[in-house]
């Protein structure tokens, strides 16, 4: 089990020597993996949505009849005794799917959106709060069914929650336009959403390219690129886009909660940039350059000027500790099929100042830690950093295995 790879895991833990006795560690790891797989399967079965049940709860006074027998969303329901239709559709938020039901009604000149119900969501609470406070939802009230329902066109995005804004809008748009064509018999005169490529995406690509450059070169430009990327990461990735990677992002990918490429290219650019750097270059550019919370910690450190060390006994076990914490988090995520429930990181809250319950204490505690201990969170608690570094490590092993040389050589 030992190897000589030096990757700098967040904890800096020294790999342990193999034990000669009963392989408790292996047994425990096997059980942990088996439980994770079981939690994933149970969660996926239990999370199968009961759309008719959701509607019955949301509209308790109405009798609803399914009017089409399609197996994929959108689903159309007729309201008995009324000329209204209710259509259910979904969109991808940052933390998971958002299920929306719309109620459309025929008018003299076409049709109107009479009501929008958010039937369920697995969104990170910070992003939902941002949508609520940003007066995002009232924009949909009274809209015509032939409106475009495109963020940036007739719907305003809420900055710092753009993935959620687009996911919600996409769900409403799919439902409304489905109803307009199939139930109200209207001609599709609305615009189709195009590629959402603009200044934001260009900025993110530039940051990733600069991060690569600063990581590889040591010339003058690299010296300028490094602080530029850090400032960009803090202001753009952090405060503007609130697009930090978290355990919920990684778990969301495993559960298939993947936003649409055309509407959320920033999410894809970030994921491809970060994972691409690991797979292609064997570098974790996210932790080294792009993580806005790392920049916040470094700033706290600069302000305090204090650099306390962590007890080596604690530091030595930090890697195991992060694995354990992320295991608990993943169990919660997989069982509930709700990524936000396991995301104990303070990132989303740091850059939106929205959070729930105990998250209000985790953020200041982690900042206080960073004030005294350099990169306190990264070294002792961050699952993203650990997993990205483990991927770098795995890549080296695989390459070493393919090239037939001893791992760690060269």
């Amino acid at each position: 089990m030992t190897d000589s790879i030096e990757v700098d895991p967040p904890s800096g833990e020294i790999p342990e020597e193999p034990s000669q006795g009963f392989p408790w560690r292996g047994v425990l790891e096997g059980c942990a993996w088996a439980l994770l797989v079981a939690a994933f399967v149970i969660g996926q079965i239990a999370a199968k949505p009961d759309y008719a049940g959701m509607l019955a709860k949301a509209l308790p006074d109405e009798v609803l009849t399914r009017s089409e027998n399609n197996t994929i969303l959108p689903f159309v329901f007729q309201i008995q005794g009324k000329d209204d239709v209710v259509i259910i559709s979904d969109g991808e938020g940052y933390g998971g799917p958002l299920v929306v039901g719309i109620r459309a009604r025929r008018t003299e000149d076409g049709g109107r959106l009479a009501e929008v119900l958010m039937l369920s969501h697995k969104e990170t609470p910070a992003f939902m709060e941002r949508l609520r406070r940003g007066k995002f939802f009232p924009q949909f009230g009274g809209k015509d069914v032939i409106d475009n329902f495109i963020v940036g066109d007739d719907i305003d995005v809420v900055s710092g929650a753009s993935v959620s804004s687009k996911g919600f809008t996409k769900a409403v748009r799919d439902a409304v336009h489905q109803g307009a064509v199939s139930q109200l018999g209207l001609e599709p005169t609305w615009q189709q959403p195009g590629w959402s490529l603009g200044l934001n995406e260009a900025l993110l690509v530039t940051l990733i390219v600069l991060a690569f450059y600063a990581g590889y070169r040591k010339d003058k430009l690299a010296k300028i690129a490094k602080p530029t990327v850090m400032i960009g990461a803090l202001l753009f990735v952090g405060f503007y886009a609130n697009a930090s990677l978290s355990l919920s992002s990684l778990a969301g990918i495993i559960m298939g909660y993947i936003p649409d490429l055309r509407e959320h290219p920033m999410w894809w650019i970030m994921i491809i940039g970060v994972f691409g750097s690991v797979v292609v270059m064997g570098r974790n550019i996210y932790c080294q350059q792009l993580c806005p919370f790392m920049v916040v910690q470094d700033l706290a450190q600069k302000i305090s000027g204090v650099k306390l060390r962590i007890d080596h006994r604690f530091q030595k076990r930090a890697r195991t500790l992060i694995f354990f914490m992320s295991w608990v988090a993943l169990m919660l995520i997989f069982l509930s099929a709700h990524p936000a429930l396991g995301s104990y990181e303070p990132f989303a809250m740091m850059f939106s100042l929205e959070g729930l319950g105990i998250q209000w204490y985790i953020l200041p505690a982690s900042l206080l830690g960073a004030f005294f201990v350099p990169r306190f969170w990264c070294r002792l608690f961050c699952p993203v950093g650990l997993y990205l570094n483990e991927m770098v490590r795995l890549r080296r092993r695989v390459l070493g295995w393919f090239s037939g040389r001893k791992v760690g050589e060269g």
């Binding site: 949301a58 206080l368 830690g369």
Partner: protein
């Protein structure tokens, strides 16, 4: 770097231990909070947000 190279004073190690333990307790608290939230989630969830057009709403309630 200067401070990091100095020999650690006992209070410094105790302080970082305390910080780490506080943080661990908070993370454990977060898991407890999430577990409680998870128990609340049922296959049928209630609507959390309702956006109505006033005029349409009046017609609907007729």
């Amino acid at each position: 770097m200067k401070t990091a190279k100095q020999k650690d004073k006992p209070w410094q190690l105790k302080f970082t231990w305390a910080l780490s333990i506080v943080m661990l307790t908070l993370v454990a608290g977060f898991f407890y909070q999430s577990f409680q939230e998870m128990r609340k989630i049922t296959p049928v969830q209630v609507a959390v947000e309702r956006i109505k057009d006033k005029a349409a709403s009046e017609q609907l309630s007729e």
